[in-house]
């Protein structure tokens, strides 16, 4: 009954449709990437879905050159932890950004990325860039 309002499956269905979604605690205002049963700040369960704007900056990044088997054909590719404007951070794969232009602080924008038929979090150039 007390299921998180956004399951992992629901999160990635929204990703596929072009929307990043967070949870906002109705009790203390904490933001979290779902799924999360209890608020890690106040330990109540009063989550509400929050649509994120999908804009953020690169907090850290790497260029994967030796990839797991399922991704070997994509290498080299860049992964980044992106700090979103609302304050939460998430790992994503960078797309349409030349590898030599990637840097900490670079503004990026969320876009859905399907890898092997699975919806994943991608980030491309910011519209402002």
């Amino acid at each position: 009954m007390t299921e998180s309002p956004i399951t992992a499956r629901a999160f990635f269905e929204r990703v596929r449709a072009g929307q990043l979604t967070a949870l906002k605690c109705g009790s203390c205002g904490e933001l979290a990437i779902p799924p999360r049963q209890l608020c890690p700040a106040c330990h109540t369960q009063a989550w509400q879905p929050l649509d994120l704007r999908g804009e953020g900056t690169i907090a850290s990044f790497t260029i994967i050159r030796v990839a797991p088997r399922a991704h070997a054909g994509d290498a080299p590719y860049a992964l980044a932890v992106v700090k979103l404007r609302e304050g939460v951070s998430i790992l994503g794969r960078l797309v349409d950004i030349p590898l030599d232009k990637v840097g900490v602080g670079l503004p990026v924008r969320f876009r859905p990325l399907v890898i092997g038929n699975q919806a994943t979090v991608g980030f491309g150039p910011s519209s402002a860039a």
Binding site: S60, I64, V88, V104, V121
Partner: protein, 384 residues
Amino acid sequence: MRRVAVIGVGVTKFGLHDRTSAELFAEAAQDALTDAAIPATAIQALYYGNVVGGETEHQLHTGPQAASVLGIPSVPTTRFETACASSHAAFRHAVMEIAAGVSEVVLVGGAERVLNVSTAESTEYFAYASDAVWEQPLGLTFPGVFALIARAHMEKYGTTEAQMAAVAVKNHRHGALNPKAQFQKQITIDQVLRSAYVADPLKLFDCCPFSDGGAALVLASEEVARRHRKPVWVLGSAAASDWMLLGDKRDLSRVPATERAAAAAYRQSGLGPRDVDVVELHDCFTIAEIVATEGLGLFEPGAGGRAAEAGRTSLGGEIPVNPSGGLKAKGHPIGATGAAQIAEIVTQIRGEAGPRQVDGAKTGLTHTLGGNTATVLVSLFGRD
């Protein structure tokens, strides 16, 4: 709570083996029993670390498997899996079993076999310790996790690739003194810096190898340990966890689980970082050693890279780190690593480490990190 001592240690050579992980464990365990001068019948429980047995050996239920191969099939066994920290977690629970008065003698061990599968396969299996829904589908690897940490550390503190290379050079220099090490060959800063990028900014020589190997420890209550020639006392042992997802970690340049586990272990022992004579810590990547030396309080946050470059963590330096060669040169059979680190510290405190002996080492610390920094164990050891 009762005092607990390590009275026997055993470690196989690390590297390529054509034996199962249970066989590797059994070799190390027999050596540990011989070292402890105690019969196998004295063992009341086995606490065992193994991580990817299900993937590389199609073997689950590795606790009783290991006990059967050793020849003590009737003792209760428990297999621990906290990624690369598994046998250190097993050790902590064995300490608690003896401290609580449940058992007098407990065998701790771990083993791993991965060199029977391809690098591509083992890279994939190790990535299973990151999140299967949020991170693995993006093609995250373990070098990738620590590359993100390295980039954040470089950005925040100005840590350089040459400082990271100094960690690799130092650990290979130590490993050349360890006959059990996978790599017993010195390397140069230039070789590290010219090696190929695996996950920028980490290069091949910033990474520990894939390894097969086993390690074992005999733990005993004070009453039993007093009859042993050189008991090494467990002064503290603590575990801490942190968020699984990289995006949830507030500051990628730090490992909060290291800081929390270290604080708890120091509190239990009444010691601080200045009291430690020798350290075995989790250098799965060169940046991991730098961040760990900071998290353990050996150096201020951001000072770890410069300390490594200045030789402060070398044998003969002010606080020798990884005299065994560390994961980088000794090797990293992930299920065995925590127990092997403890075996090295026990050997150092006994004064039996030969050419890699830290002069006058009385107090030692081990630090083992699991996977994506979500698990850390820290233990402290000393002699009478």
